[in-house]
């Protein structure tokens, strides 16, 4: 099944189409102590055939962002503002019912824990075929044929017999493949992968990432990869948005962000990776822990852990502003605006000298 996405020129020689554009997204959680803002003014873009990584510690709002994109937030969470523009349609402005039309054909999501994400009482074939039954009105028999096709596509051996098995009869890696198959069933333009490999062991992780890459290239999908794993970001993603306490603190192409971080948090994260450490030397880490959602300070969200904190950081929250591509290059002024680098730090320009 070839989609319109295939007409886009392959390769990365030119700017890819923007599939998803998130502007100023905010999500509130109602708790019995009052309402807290878990995601606050998040901006990013995902392009066809590319992977955007949302990177951050647990609790920073990256999973919440993913659920907001897919429209499957918990009932205590509210979309508090912003736009989620997918192929020209603002999903945030749609009613839940209108949104169902997009769930599947336009947008798929892969969860972290495949065992709980699959319904234990139905065969995988039934669950894989459901999208076809809902959106294309296929019969149960036709949907099963499609399900077998899907299982082949994601590399599950003996799909003809395994299609009638139940989720608990599969291994963790196979379940994750089934989950991915479900997400890509209708060749969506956008695939959200919420920590798809966290629950798997390392060898299987690599296979799953490889599968995602293959599917992305086949379908020219835009992939939003949510992860806390710097290595995965470095290997798989084209661009990255670093999140901290519900905010995007830095974004840009992975190679540039990782080689030349412009936010002290990104810098701290990168320095905490033990790459060239002498035996016996202390590993670096970021002191302290992220603020509670009830208690996010009014200035910069990172002020309590930042080594460069100044008066202005406590008084005023820095906005996510473009920074020039690479200060280490001599021709930095001439870098094209896309893909833009941006950081939310009052001292982003000074950072590489610090």
């Amino acid at each position: 099944m070839k989609t319109a996405a295939q007409t886009v020129l392959p390769g990365k020689t030119r700017a890819q189409d923007v599939v998803l554009s998130v502007r100023d997204l905010a999500v509130d959680i109602r708790t019995y102590r009052g309402t807290v803002r878990a995601v606050n003014g998040v901006d990013f873009e995902a392009r066809a055939g590319e992977t955007l990584a949302l990177l951050g510690e647990s609790g920073c709002g990256k999973s919440m962002t993913a659920k907001a994109l897919a429209g499957i937030m918990d009932p205590v969470c509210d979309l508090a503002g912003g736009e989620i523009v997918l192929n020209g349609t603002d999903l945030a402005a749609l009613t839940p019912k209108e949104r169902l039309k997009f769930a599947g054909p336009e947008l798929g999501i892969v969860f972290q824990d495949a065992l709980t994400a699959l319904n234990p009482v139905y065969t995988v074939g039934t669950q894989l075929g459901e999208a076809f039954r809902i959106h294309q009105g296929l019969s149960a028999r036709e949907a099963k044929v499609q399900a077998i096709e899907l299982m082949k596509r994601v590399g599950i051996p003996e799909p003809e017999s395994r299609v009638n098995s139940y989720p608990h009869q599969f291994s963790g890696g196979m379940r994750q493949r089934i989950l991915i198959a479900m997400a890509v069933a209708l060749n969506p333009r956008l695939l959200i992968a919420d920590e798809p490999t966290t629950a798997l062991d390392v060898t299987v992780q690599a296979q799953i990432m490889q599968l995602l890459r293959k599917l992305r290239e086949e379908g020219q999908m835009a992939v939003v990869l949510i992860t806390h794993d710097l290595a995965v970001v470095a290997e798989e993603a084209d661009s990255v948005a670093v999140m901290y306490a519900g905010n995007v603190v830095e974004s840009g192409p992975v190679s540039q962000v990782f080689s030349d971080p412009r936010h002290p948090y990104t810098k701290g994260l990168l320095e905490s990776v033990p790459v060239h450490v002498e035996r016996g030397a202390h590993l670096k880490s970021i002191a302290g822990s992220p603020p509670e959602l009830h208690d996010i300070p009014s200035g910069c969200v990172y002020q309590s852990r930042c080594p460069l904190v100044q008066e202005i950081c406590r008084a005023e929250r820095p906005r996510l502003l473009p920074v020039n591509g690479s200060a280490t290059n001599n021709h930095s002024e001439t870098l094209p605006p896309r893909p833009g680098r941006a950081a939310a730090c009052h001292f982003s320009e000074e950072l590489n000298n610090a």
Binding site: A70, G71, A103, F111, T116, A117, N119, V121, T123, Q169
Partner: protein, 309 residues
């Protein structure tokens, strides 16, 4: 499936056996029926004759052996009260109770599924509040009192329904309404609770992310998962229905097995009591097997691995 079934039957048969023995032992402890059936001025000779004729002078173990031998031949002896065959009496009373219980359970399950789903769709919404309060009230009202209120309002004050008896459709309304109360109240809570937790499972989110609408999510994905706990509870409720039947049949003069049991106990009519209890126990036993089978059909995880995994 057959292996699974055989295992379940064996494990359910133990309670059945214990119940039979237990009832036998307890019934024998209620005292000598001779003092109940013979005139007050009966001589010791008459008492001994009566005891010997009914085999009550044998050691307890011999009595029990006789009893088990009888059970295998479906021979429970004769009623001390009426002289009729005890098994026949129990079998004759059984349909009346079965009709009552079956109607009640079907109504309870259907109503509980409807109301429970409705409440689960909007947790803490108005529907949920109202229905959980109603079901809570239902689980809090003593059945005998509800029966009396029903009689007071509909039979005495309004005169719409008969106070007791089995004649006409009207006679069914109050007994069923009374009997319905508890299973409905319990089941609706179970359905609601398991629907709420099923609806918050990740696989429901995933179904939504596939574009499944609200109705499909409820009927296809959540209900089947929620049905399993409701089914297990339905087994316990059927046992409880016997409790309700005793009260309801006593109040409304319903000629069922509950009334028969109470009457037999009060009259120390061992044979009938044993026949009635054994019949009830077998019915509960059969029902539990049916429920286990239904459970295995609903949820593949409890099924033993038959195909290659």
């Amino acid at each position: 499936m057959l292996i699974y079934l055989r295992k379940r039957i064996i494990s359910s048969a133990l309670p059945l056996a214990v119940v039979i023995v237990g009832v036998f032992a307890l019934a024998r402890m209620t005292g000598n029926p001779a003092s109940l059936y013979l005139p007050l001025n009966a001589t010791q000779q008459m008492r001994d004759d009566f005891t010997a004729r009914n085999g009550l002078d044998q050691p307890l173990l011999v009595q029990m052996a006789d009893y088990f031998g009888g059970v295998l031949k479906l021979d429970f002896g004769q009623s001390l009260r009426t002289g009729q065959d005890a098994a026949a009496m129990a079998l004759r009373a059984f349909p009346a109770t079965l009709q009552l219980a079956a109607t009640t359970m079907v109504l309870a399950v259907v109503l509980a599924l409807l109301v429970g789903c409705w409440a689960a769709l909007k947790p803490n919404g108005v529907a949920d509040r109202i229905s959980s309060f109603i079901s809570m009230a239902a689980a809090s009202i003593p059945d005998f009192w509800l029966a009396i209120v029903g009689i007071w309002v509909f039979a005495i004050t309004l005169g719409w329904l008969p106070t007791s008896g089995v004649s006409g459709a009207g006679a069914w309304v109050l007994p069923i309404a009374t009997l319905l109360l508890r299973p409905f109240g319990v089941l609706v809570q179970i359905v609601r609770g398991s629907m709420v937790s099923a609806l918050s499972e990740p696989y429901i989110k995933l179904a939504r992310s596939r574009g499944a609408g609200e109705l499909r999510v409820v009927t296809h994905h959540a209900l089947r998962n929620a049905a399993a706990p409701a089914l297990t509870v339905a087994g316990d409720l059927t046992v409880g229905l016997v409790n309700g039947a005793v009260v309801v049949e006593t109040i409304f003069g319903w000629p069922g097995i509950g009334k028969l049991m109470i009457d037999s106990i009060l009259q120390r009519d061992f044979a009938v009591l044993q026949a009635a209890v054994l019949l009830t126990a077998v019915a509960i036993f059969a029902l539990n097997i049916l429920i286990d089978m239904g459970y295995a059909l609903l949820d593949a995880r409890v099924r033993p691995v038959t195909a290659k995994a």
